[in-house]
Amino acid sequence: MSQAGQVPAVGVARVPDVLHAEWTKLRTLAGTFWLLAGAVAVTIAVSAAACAATTCSSLGCQADPGKVSLTGVQVGQAIVAIIGVLAISTEYSSGLIRVTLTAMPHRGWVLAAKAALVGGLVLAVSAVAVLGSVLAGQLILPGHGFTAAHGFAALSLDEAPVLRAACGSVLYLALIALLSLGVAVAVRDSAAAIGTVLALLYLFPVIAAVISNQHWQRHLEQISPMTAGLYIQATVGVRTLPLTPWQGLGVLGLWAAGALLLGGLVLRLRDA
């Protein structure tokens, strides 16, 4: 009796184990690779197209070469959002979440591990996308009037504002992934989650564009995750922005933190 009652020693899942498990799930998900590759390709392609479509004539031009060469981020973020949403919502749709939470009952760690991995992965991939975009800008923009003759310095990462715009864009995409992850944990359903994230991103700029009231417009832009977050891309006229570039990225950071917090709360309080 006493022999039979012995239970084989069960290893308590530790943080590295959780990270390893989450990494395996993320890595082996069929879509992850294609989505990451798609995010890079779309970002660079749209950036290059934007550079080719913008010309600066001798009449004067208010275009911001740094911002133009990073335009692809505005479209690439949609794919990054899918990556963030899928990282958790596939677990709910397949029921895997119950296995995950059984193996690792401390739910906060599961979310933290997911956030760290998705954030890190997107960070690495966005660095490639952003570097490609800046390179496209360096190659295309000088042929479209963005030359020293019109008062534009060469688009180079040696310049502090350009470096800020590039690094900030990488962080921006990572924060979008975290925001999506947080929303997806809170909402659970993938369709509802991606709809919420995309509406959140694109809603504020469209409303701000039609509101002629400057006061309201300014406030809308200050709280808009996308508009404020993309202030980090400004390389000229930084002083005229409603927020400083880093404050703007901070607004997006607050949105992402809020979403993750809400997601963590829902994950703890609700049955899986």
Partner: protein, 538 residues
């Protein structure tokens, strides 16, 4: 030997087919509480954002609350909106009516004839940089000629024969009407003869290049024209506007211009011939500019301004913001559409996620009819939600804007109805498109993102001027986002130079043509969905 006959059910196929399928799909839709709530949220979002657009757009309105000396007794609240009052033309539309007018009364029927021998002008040296200084030149729609007008107040009825900077001779009347006459520009070598004949309420315009062979250009019927009108010579030239299209925004800048026309052979068939009086109707765009010089039978008239309908949208005019068009009260459509798209995709993909699709297809094996029933249910739900939302948003926002003392751009009631019903159709068709893509992809995330990427994002890029106007126009021609064209309400005038771009409310396609593009994509997607639904195992 006994033969075993396999069992064959004697029950015939279920009758009543499509109605039952429809009923089944409607039951599935209405019993998911989240979807019904989501549809209500979509309606609330559209209405709420519409009211916000009406309430938050009063940039130039200050509500001043009068208070008594003690500060306890709020007396009267008054709303003043400088810059939002415009002269109103006979058709009820806001107009610009500023020109230099050399006139005398014309009693009863009669006519005025002149020869124009020259039209010249001054343009700002560089509009984009706003630098001072002028250079000689004319705008395409710099105008000078003869006019018969109901008095000298702004917005009153008129008919005019005019030479223009680059559009030949035109007959224009009551601001919105424009008919071409002789082509080519005017000069001493090729002068233009112009004539207006009044008969009752009808004014007929003629032009000629030699003063003997006359051609009728057009006929204007000006209702309620009094027996004595003002007839004479005019000159006016609109602002030179420069729009710099930058990535992420459009900046408009306008600077006033002036033009001078030289007339001779002036004859007015009024007896006795009165004296000419000169003066501005409205005021000069270019301060201090305007006047006339008479020597013998020769008149030189100089003016600055415009006689034209006001076009909504960004302008470089100093006159202030132009009135809102009802289209901006439907700005929430795109947000509501995101919600409806999510519901429509889930209406299909939830069947796959739960395995319900196998029961559905067992119960009604004709798969195409299942898809049709689903499309009909989600389309009808989208239409009803869109109709309620659009009607409430437009009617509520117009009321709200009026109560805040803002001039709303008047549109005819058929336009109102088209915009509201069109918005409902837009929501319905987009929902069906989302359903079809959901059936093709089976995965919620991919389908939702794809539909949002093709329906909402092109609209977003165009509305926020994130793309150059040319690229935005192409997107709104070929993508399903073309359906938003059905919401356009701003009038477009060939005789007014303005920025007719998607960002300022002018999509490249006509209202129903845009919706037809969306419908075309939806039919394609439905076809693909029906094909894949039949071909693939569920």
């Amino acid at each position: 030997m006994t033969t075993v006959t396999p069992f064959r059910s004697q029950a015939g196929p279920v009758k009543g087919g499509f109605r039952q399928e429809l009923h089944a799909e409607w039951t599935k839709f209405r019993t998911v509480r989240g979807w019904i709530i989501a549809m209500l949220v979509a309606v609330l979002v559209i209405v709420g954002l519409g009211l916000f657009a009406a309430g938050g757009s009063g940039s130039s309105c200050q509500v001043s609350t009068g208070q008594s000396a003690t500060g306890h007794n709020p007396a009267s609240a008054s709303t003043t909106c400088p810059g939002t009052t415009f002269p109103v033309g006979p058709g009820g539309e806001p107009v610009t009516d500023d020109f230099y007018f050399v006139h005398q009364p014309l009693a009863g029927n009669g006519s005025i004839t002149v020869r124009v021998t020259s039209l010249s002008g001054l343009l700002p040296a560089n509009v984009a940089s706003g630098s001072p200084g002028t250079k000689p030149g004319l705008l395409p729609w710099s105008k000078a000629g003869i006019i018969i007008k109901d008095g000298t107040s702004q917005g009153s009825a008129y008919a005019a024969m005019t030479v223009t900077g680059a559009n030949g001779v035109r007959m224009q009347w009551n601001y919105t009407h424009d008919t071409p006459g002789l082509a080519g520009s005017v000069s001493a070598a090729s002068p233009r003869w112009l004539r207006l004949v009044r008969t009752g309420a009808t004014i007929t315009g003629y032009d000629s290049d030699d003063g003997t062979h006359w051609a009728q250009v057009g006929t204007a019927s000006l209702a309620g024209l009094p027996s004595t009108v003002q007839a004479g010579l005019f000159a006016t030239s609109p602002d030179d506007q420069s729009f710099s299209q930058t990535f992420g925004g459009t900046n408009g800048q306008g600077m006033p211009t002036q033009d001078t026309a030289v007339f001779d052979h002036v004859s007015l068939s009024s007896a006795p011939a009165g004296a000419w009086a000169g003066g501005y109707v409205g005021e000069a765009n270019m301060p201090g500019v305007g006047g006339y010089h008479q020597a013998g039978g020769r008149f030189a008239v100089t003016g600055s301004g415009d006689i034209a309908p006001i076009v909504p949208g960004p302008t470089g005019n100093a006159a202030g913001p132009t009135p809102s068009v009802i289209t901006i009260y439907l700005i929430g459509t795109f947000a509501g559409l995101v919600v409806v798209i999510v519901v429509a995709v889930m209406f299909m993909t939830a069947e796959y996620r739960r395995g319900l699709i196998r029961i559905t297809l067992s119960a009604s094996p004709r798969r195409g009819r299942v898809l049709a029933a689903k499309a009909l249910v989600i389309g009808a739900a989208g239409f009803v939600a869109g109709l309620v939302a659009a009607a409430a948003a437009v009617l509520g926002a117009v009321r709200l804007a009026q109560s805040r003392g803002q001039a709303a751009f008047p549109v005819s009631w058929p336009t109102d109805v088209r915009v509201i019903v069109g918005t409902a159709a837009l929501v319905a068709v987009a929902a069906v498109l989302a359903l079809a893509l959901g059936a093709m992809l089976r995965r919620s995330v991919g389908a939702v993102t794809l539909v949002i990427a093709v329906v909402v994002v092109p609209y977003f890029l165009a509305a926020t001027a994130a793309l150059p106007a040319g690229a935005a126009e192409w997107l709104l021609r070929i993508t399903p986002a073309a359906g938003f064209a059905v919401q356009q309400a701003a009038p477009r005038y060939a005789q007014v130079s303005a920025l007719y771009t998607p960002a300022s409310g002018y999509p490249p396609l006509a209202p129903w043509a845009g919706l037809a593009v969306l419908c075309g994509w939806t039919v394609l997607a439905l076809g693909g969905a029906a094909y894949l639904l039949r071909r693939r195992d569920a």
